[in-house]
Amino acid sequence: MFLKELWGYSKKLAVGFILFILFWTYINYKQGATAAPLFQYGMYANKYFISDTQQVIELYVNDKNIDLTKYPIADRDLLQTSLLFFRVQKPVNESIYYTIKRILDPVFIGQLMTKDNYTNATTDQEFTDWYKQLTQKIVGYPVNKLAAYEQKYVWQKDKLVPVSSPIKFNCIVANP
């Protein structure tokens, strides 16, 4: 048996290996926070249905809806996730800060955590400037005007059809 052999070779390595597995199993069992490099690999394990509402980002560059399929997968993902992440970063960062601090407070680490360390001071204008530059690099031409919308789609009659009005991403500030 491998563990017995490992124990015979090095007790320290065997203990480290067993602890790693036990802690990792515990993290998977709890299904909450992780502790890198002990991750959870539960991606696409929840139930998904054809009738689920899909949220799609539509990006308008110089008043023209850009066809995201023209760009490489990585660029496409970068354009979309940057917007989504920035929109939620404030509540997400705050919520995680309070959750982790509450858990780590009984040990001295929690007391070292200050809110400023865990939040961004980035303004919408700063984000817009950065995002504009990113878009420019990806589309390959000057971006004078930029807007993004979130449009809901549902599967009807064998295709995705838009439902409700698109919602504007307010984190992209008005263009001059």
């Binding site: 490992l6 502790a35 899909q54 858990i103 360390n117 789609y153 295709k159």
Partner: protein, 276 residues
């Protein structure tokens, strides 16, 4: 056949090639700190990450191109240095191996804060350097098998998640996932062959589900590796197919996990009882 110093060098070369190919893909796609020059970060419910954030490196990386360049250079430099150290059997090899693993973890934690790449993608490059944190062939042999078992558990855990969260029991699962994963692609372009293929799968949810089931089955198949090394060649083929299909169908890049193939390839070699 016995494991020799030559095999450790071959594994180091394989690791370095995988790493450099992966890093080249990241560089080509502007997925480095220097190329992104991030202006904000997003946190994750992870203890290691939140403890590392006490250093405030996350703010140092925002808007500071020097820090970004330093991070990228160390990230790419350490694996190269480690490979050279393994080839030349340098005395500082163990220290370099540990530094490479620790810094890769640090890089993964902070990089996943500024971009959509999840830290799980880096797991191979975090763990594999630890293989070389030993001066003996016997040490390499045991570390290799420890990592082989860890990867098997990682893969099997993905299948167990699909069972406990009931995704595997849902006939519409893959059709729902395909719509979620490719929604912006499908709505942007309704004519190309990939769009038509995804639409066809959604219209035939049971065929799509069989692909999901095959994926989960191949993850579960890795459980055999916990009991025997006899089928490691089959597991190598299963992992390659899994990664390729994931890329083709889901457009998710798991190529960084190819580095674990080394653990399954070199597992066939035994170690001599006299090795120290």
């Amino acid at each position: 056949m016995l494991l020799t110093l030559k095999h450790t060098r071959q594994f180091a070369a394989f690791y370095c090639c995988c790493f450099l190919l992966n890093f080249s893909w990241y560089m080509y796609n502007r997925l480095t700190f220097a190329a992104l020059q991030p202006v904000f970060f997003i946190n994750r419910l992870d203890f290691t990450k939140n403890i590392l954030m006490l250093t405030d490196l996350q703010h140092s990386l925002l808007g500071s191109s020097i820090t970004c360049w330093c991070f990228d250079s160390l990230y790419v430099g350490l694996p190269i240095l480690l490979t050279i150290a393994v080839y030349k059997n340098m005395p500082g090899k163990i220290l370099i191996a540990i530094c490479t693993a620790v810094f890769t973890l640090l890089y993964a934690v902070f990089f996943s804060s500024v971009c959509y790449i999840s830290p799980e993608m880096f797991i191979g490059f975090i763990l594999i350097p630890l293989l070389f944190a030993t001066n003996s062939i016997k040490g390499f042999y045991y570390l290799l098998h420890c990592l082989r078992y860890l990867f098997i558990l990682l893969f099997v855990s993905a299948a167990i998640w699909k069972i406990t969260k009931a995704g595997i029991f849902n006939a519409e699962e893959m059709a729902g996932i395909l719509l979620l994963q490719h929604n912006s692609y499908l709505t942007s372009n309704g004519t190309d062959s990939f769009t038509r293929f995804v639409y066809w799968l959604v219209q035939h949810p049971l065929i799509a589900y069989s692909l999901y089931f095959l994926g989960a089955f191949s993850e579960l198949l890795f459980g055999i590796g916990l009991f025997t090394k006899k089928y490691d060649t089959i597991l190598i083929a299963a992992l390659c197919l899994f990664i390729l299909f994931d890329f083709f169908l889901m457009r998710i890049n798991y190529f960084s996990w190819f580095v674990f193939l080394g653990c399954f390839y070199f597992s066939r070699f035994d170690c001599s009882k006299d090795d120290n």
